[in-house]
């Protein structure tokens, strides 16, 4: 019944999309490591730089967990994991959001303390071939480097994530697209310090940390809702996936079906679920049900694992209310 092999989740055209996404994540990973190293070397005692640095360090996590998860997710089901490994993506998404949220909270407190204690950032100089340069300028150059390639990568990953119905990839792309805001805020902070406004630094750090908390909270809530088996939603706008309504209508049109109710949940990129049907003629053969299963699976690649259950009345199974 179930096609068992090691790479069975995605249809062929999406396998190409996935390998492209993997390539982009590898590029992201290498690029982000370079950013994190450069920022560490230049941040000095600037609170805004520290905040932007930790945020960038943390943004390594979606890339890493995506790359790890994408090696595991399509292993076939076995006796230990009879439902397969699809949910590895949901787990990666959850851990990433917990980390982001916690880091945001830490940075918020850290920056608030710096602000309250009136901690003035001391930013020194660097001499490059006889020219004395204020480190603030170097920080700004590094911040620009941390923003522009990230933005381009984000733009490239976004459409792939939508096609793959992959939340972790989507969130990663969205965060990277918005990363220029962090960099810009940090640049304002550093410029403020240059202008002699000592609190500009910790104030912008506080601002950045609030945006990290906001992102973290949003992702965390999405991740939890997915693992709570809510009605599947689109990755981009979080509206309910109307694929389920389409399936209901399709099933209701079958000649042997009088009425039907469907229920699906997200397992990473794909959906698992049940279809309850009231059959017109009580005499329904198992081969007809198996044919029906095939039909449903061919309906859309996201529909991965389905059970069809003939029942006498839909009342106990009607989850549509």
């Amino acid at each position: 019944m179930t096609k068992v092999n090691n790479n069975y989740e995605l249809p062929d055209h999406l396998k190409l999309v996935l390998s492209k996404a993997k390539k982009l994540e590898w590029i992201s990973l290498l690029y982000l490591i370079s950013v994190v190293v450069l920022m560490y070397l230049t941040m000095g005692s600037s609170q805004a730089m520290k905040t932007a640095w930790l945020e960038d360090a943390l943004s390594l996590s979606p890339s890493i967990s995506f790359l790890i998860a994408s090696r595991i997710y399509s292993k076939g089901p076995n006796k230990d994991f009879p439902y397969g490994y699809h949910r590895v993506f949901s787990i990666a998404f959850l851990t990433g959001s917990v980390a982001l949220f916690a880091m945001g909270a830490f940075l918020c407190i850290d920056s608030a303390i710096a602000l309250i204690m009136k901690d003035r950032p001391t930013i020194g100089t660097i001499s490059i071939s006889d020219t004395q340069i204020w480190m603030g300028w170097i920080m700004i150059v590094v911040l620009v480097y941390s923003a522009i390639p990230a933005m381009l990568l984000g733009f490239k990953k976004m459409p792939l994530a939508k096609r793959l119905h992959n939340k972790i990839l989507y969130t990663d792309a969205k965060t990277q697209k918005a990363d220029y805001m962090t960099a810009l805020a940090a640049i304002v902070g550093v410029l403020g310090v240059g202008a002699g406004i000592w609190w500009a630094d910790s104030a912008t750090a506080l601002f950045i940390s609030l945006s990290v908390i906001k992102d973290g909270y949003k992702n965390l809530s999405e991740a939890i809702k997915d693992l709570m088996d809510r009605h599947p939603v689109h990755v981009a706008d979080k509206t309910k996936d109307d694929l389920l309504d389409k399936i209901t209508n399709e099933v209701k049109q079958w000649v042997w079906v009088e009425d039907a109710v469907v229920r699906f949940r997200e397992h990473g990129q794909v959906y698992f679920g049940e279809i309850y049907v009231v059959v017109i003629d009580d005499d329904i053969s198992s081969s007809e049900i198996e044919q029906a299963l095939e039909k449903i699976k061919d309906f859309h690649w996201k529909i991965h694992d389905v059970t069809i259950m003939p029942v006498r009345s839909l009342l106990p199974y009607d989850y549509t209310k």
Binding site: P121, L191, V193
Partner: protein, 142 residues
């Protein structure tokens, strides 16, 4: 639209950048008017306080710095704790005494980069113009 904003930003930055960084507490401007007030902790050979004469390697560095910047200067001495406290309150401008970059005062004061890979001069936190001038001197005098 975005390009316009960027252009304005570039222009603004390049106009104001000439005198960046500034001191939040205008330390360097004050020094120019009133002279540099140097707190000295006795720690030979970096700074030696004997009767009312001040000598040593770091005293020499600062004297030369003041000459090159055309500043007057004055030395005072007290306990290390008092000097650092006064530095934090902007009562004195700089504290010397063979401090290392991992000094216990690290969190309370600003530091120049080491003039000999180990030893630093202590300045009020965040006075980045003053720091800039000091480090410029330290680099060129090497």
């Amino acid at each position: 639209m975005k390009i316009k904003v960027l252009l304005i930003l570039v222009v603004v930055i390049s106009v104001v950048s000439c005198n960046f960084p500034k001191d939040p507490n205008s330390t360097f401007q004050k020094i120019k008017k009133k002279g540099l007030l140097i707190g000295v902790v006795n720690n030979p050979p970096y700074s030696i306080v004997k009767d009312s004469s001040f000598t040593g390697k770091e005293v020499g560095i600062l004297k030369e710095f003041c000459n090159s910047e055309d500043l007057s200067y004055r030395f005072i001495t007290a306990s290390e704790t008092d000097l650092v406290k006064n530095l934090k309150n902007f009562k004195i401008d700089i504290v010397i005494g063979g401090f290392e970059k991992n000094s216990v005062w690290k969190k309370d004061v600003g530091m120049t980069k080491p003039y000999d890979k180990v030893h630093v001069l202590l300045i009020p936190k965040g006075e980045n113009r003053f720091l800039y001038q000091l480090e410029k001197y330290l680099t060129t005098s090497k």
